[in-house]
């Protein structure tokens, strides 16, 4: 429970102790004043009922109230699992309250308000709380002097106060009504704080809920990254295997074949030419495997940065001869996550390969544009283009990967108008220049 709520509860407790003490002491003191004034017989006549024994009133009322406070302290220490014990204690509280009210001749109903506040303060279990409140309400209704006095024969506090002259009556009545009003004010304040604390609790709940869904999203991304990393690892292993076993075997075969060619020069021309052909096929296979291994391994960017890896890729393409590949960076280049770098690299690689293979272009432009929130990648050539885009495996794969990053890719082409790949990827977090 909230601290302010606790403060208000204890204020109400102290206030009620003051009221109970005041009322009981007034009843006690008045009895003796009546006797001193020799008005006892008249007082009994007016009272209509037999008054309590004077010392019983403050002693019973105040000590019962202290028991009530003690019961409150015990209830605070009990946990939610002991709801039944709390409720039983609360029932005992109702009994005590009736006893106090009886000693005060049912001249003060506010104690039941205090008890009602206690029901909200202590009882967490909802059905038990409602039951407790129902009981308290019954108590509040039936602890009325006018209802009870006829049955229990009680002298009202009014009878005691009316013994005094107007000069004493007015302050007594004012103190009485002031204290009772204060009690009411604090009870209202308690509920105000209670409602506020509930609203605050709700807000916090919503906030935590939002945080949780954020965390869940991050977890999903992490999952994707993990998958990617596993795939990369597997590719590396495969590359090593191919390079180490198949590459070695093919190298051995090629060396062997060279020896065979030398040996066959003298003899069979037919055998020589056949062996040469096999050698050339083997060498081509070896070159293919080397290229393939390089491609598998050029996850080279695992070690180097995206930009230098791209630069290397473009240099390689330029080295092929007649075609020029340009590389332009716009904006402040920022560091990217691994999966982002992989995706961009693959995109550029696949696009360049496609242009080299199919377009018959003269030049290719690669442009990376960094803005605050996103990276756009544009690869365009001046080749023959095509009527429509054939989404072979390479393009589909690129689309999927970019979609995973929350980005999009557009292919733009027409016959004799070249081919243009335009991708935009949102940047997850701002990064400074590498």
């Amino acid at each position: 429970m909230d601290k302010p709520l606790g403060y208000v509860y204890y204020t109400i407790l102290v206030l009620n102790l003051a009221i109970v003490s005041l009322f009981s002491l007034v009843m006690y003191q008045t009895t003796y004043l009546v006797c001193d004034a020799d008005q006892a017989r008249i007082f009994l006549e007016q009272a209509r009922y037999l008054p309590h024994i004077p010392w019983h009133v403050p002693v019973y009322a105040i000590s019962s109230f202290l028991l009530l406070a003690l019961s409150g302290a015990v209830k605070r220490r009990l946990t939610e699992s002991q709801a039944i014990v709390v409720f039983l204690l609360f029932l005992a509280d109702i009994g005590l309250t009736f006893f106090i009210a009886y000693n005060l001749n049912f001249s003060y109903k506010g104690l039941f308000l205090f008890l009602g506040v206690g029901a909200f303060f202590f009882i967490a279990n909802l059905p038990l709380r409602y039951l407790a409140i129902a009981l308290v309400m019954l108590g509040y209704i039936f602890s009325d002097y006018d209802i009870i006095s006829a049955r229990l024969n009680l002298v009202s506090l009014q009878d005691y106060i009316s013994f005094y002259g107007p000069s004493a009556q007015i302050p007594l009545y004012s103190i009485r009504s002031t204290l009772e009003s204060l009690n009411l004010v604090f009870v209202i304040l308690f509920f105000q704080f209670l409602i506020q604390s509930k609203i605050r609790e709700n807000k916090e709940f919503i906030k935590v809920n939002n945080e949780l869904s954020d965390k869940l999203h991050q977890l999903e991304i992490l999952q994707v990254k993990l998958e990617e990393s596993a795939r990369l690892k597997e590719r590396n292993r495969l590359a090593h295997e191919i390079h180490d076993i198949l590459g070695h075997s093919l190298t051995s075969i090629s060396t062997g074949l060279e020896a065979c060619i030398e040996l066959s020069k003298a003899g069979a021309a037919e055998l020589h030419s056949r062996l040469k052909k096999i050698k050339s096929v083997t060498d081509r296979g070896l070159t293919d495997i080397r290229r393939s291994v390089r491609e598998l391994k050029n996850d080279a960017i695992v070690q180097s940065s995206l930009l230098s890896a791209l630069q290397e890729l473009i240099n390689d393409a330029n080295a092929l001869g007649d075609r020029g590949v340009g590389f332009i960076i716009v904006g402040n280049a920022v560091g990217l996550e691994d999966d982002e770098e992989q995706t961009v690299y693959r995109l550029v690689q696949e696009s360049i390969t496609n242009s080299l293979r199919h377009s018959g272009c003269r030049y290719i432009d690669v442009t990376l544009t960094y803005t605050e929130k996103q990276l756009t990648v544009c690869i365009s050539d001046n080749g023959c283009g095509c009527r429509e885009v054939h989404r072979h495996f390479g393009l589909e794969h690129i689309e999927e990967r970019i979609a995973l990053l929350g980005g999009s890719v557009v292919f733009d082409t027409a016959p004799e108008k070249g081919f243009r790949t335009f991708a935009s990827i949102p940047l997850r977090k701002g990064r400074t220049l590498e």
């Binding site: 006797c35 006892a40 017989r41 007016q46 209509r48 009922y49 024994i53």
Partner: protein, 447 residues
Amino acid sequence: MSSGDSHRRWRVFFIPSLVILVILSVLGIANYRKNTVVLELALYSGNSWGVPQNFAYAIYDRAVEMFEERFADKGYRVVLRTGTMYKDYSEWFAQLVLKGKEPDMFLLIEEDFTTYAAIGLLERLDRYLDKSDLSPDVFFSNALEAGQYQGSQYSLPIGIVPSFLIVNNDLLDSLELVIDRDNWTWEQFYRLCEQITGDLDGDGAPDRFGVEGYDWHHAFYTNDDTLFNQTSTSAGFNDKRMAEMLTFLKQMHGLNKGVLVKEGLFEKGKVGFKTFNLSEFRVYGSYPYRILRYDDFDWEPLPFPSGPQGTSTSKLFTVQIGMSSRSRYKDVAFEFLKFISSDEKFQHQIWEFSNMLPVNRNVFDSIYRSGVMQRDGMRPLDRQFIETVIANSYIDPDFKKYPVIDKYITQRIFTIIAQDDDLSHGVGDLRQLINELLADGYSLKTP
């Protein structure tokens, strides 16, 4: 041994022994209180009929002595709380009640009875009476009724004092007047008083009178039953009977020509009739007090004359004892109440130690048969006469405001009969006065 050790040892021994000590003393006190019943009894000195009584507490001392003796095996004890005069008793006792220190048992004065029964101070005795072997027939029924409120018994009578008239036989003989007892009415009473009243010294004002002490109460109850309604919330008298009473009183008042009958004139043989009660009769009707008063002429008791619509009746004084509903020993207290009101041995002591009559009819009977009266040198008091007086007696209203209201009524009646020529307004006047007084909160002051 370290100081911590000795501290622990001290606690190990001290706390259990303290607990045992407390338990033992609680048990001891409880046992003592269970076995030793000490009842308190509040008494006043004096009485409601205003006749001095020597050794006022003697009868109660005797009761305690006999009660303790009777229950010696049970160890019951009764302590008397005395020292308060009859007129101060009401306030003194009310203060005890307010402080919650009232004794277990107490004598009641008439005006307190209804209040204490109504607020629940008096324990209702019905349950105890049903359980006990006490029969209501033991008592004079009027005396028992004086302790009833709303159909329940709240107190028991100890003794009774009936009241009546006495007549100076010598004076009536000298005037050759004879009382016709079979036709003993207001009319005859008025006629006798008229003939007795006279101016002997010739100064123009009467110096011999018909009656001393006769007032409106005597007239009212011999012509009507109740002054108030059952709940004492409004006037309950009959207008016609009230008018008859006012007429009668006005006539009687007229005889004296405004001269007040001074107290003591009857003793001097100057008055024909006087209101009297049994207590006075026992004091002045027996040796040695009889030589002080009323010894110069022959006199005898007589019932009150009846009005045109009523019967002869007179006030019955009773001494009532009740017990507190907050007493711890109500069963024992009831034993005492039962003892003091009905025990035959003790009721005999009422005759010996007080001027009252025992309330137990059997004892009353045996006193008549035993010749105790003659032993005490008492004037003869006809048994038939006194039994009839008791049986026909009335009990004063017993609510708190009655004594004050009574004074207002007395004053108003005096005004009506002394001043008004037309009595028809008087009846309505009285009714209005009584209703107003009853309705008026609690601010009644003696007029």
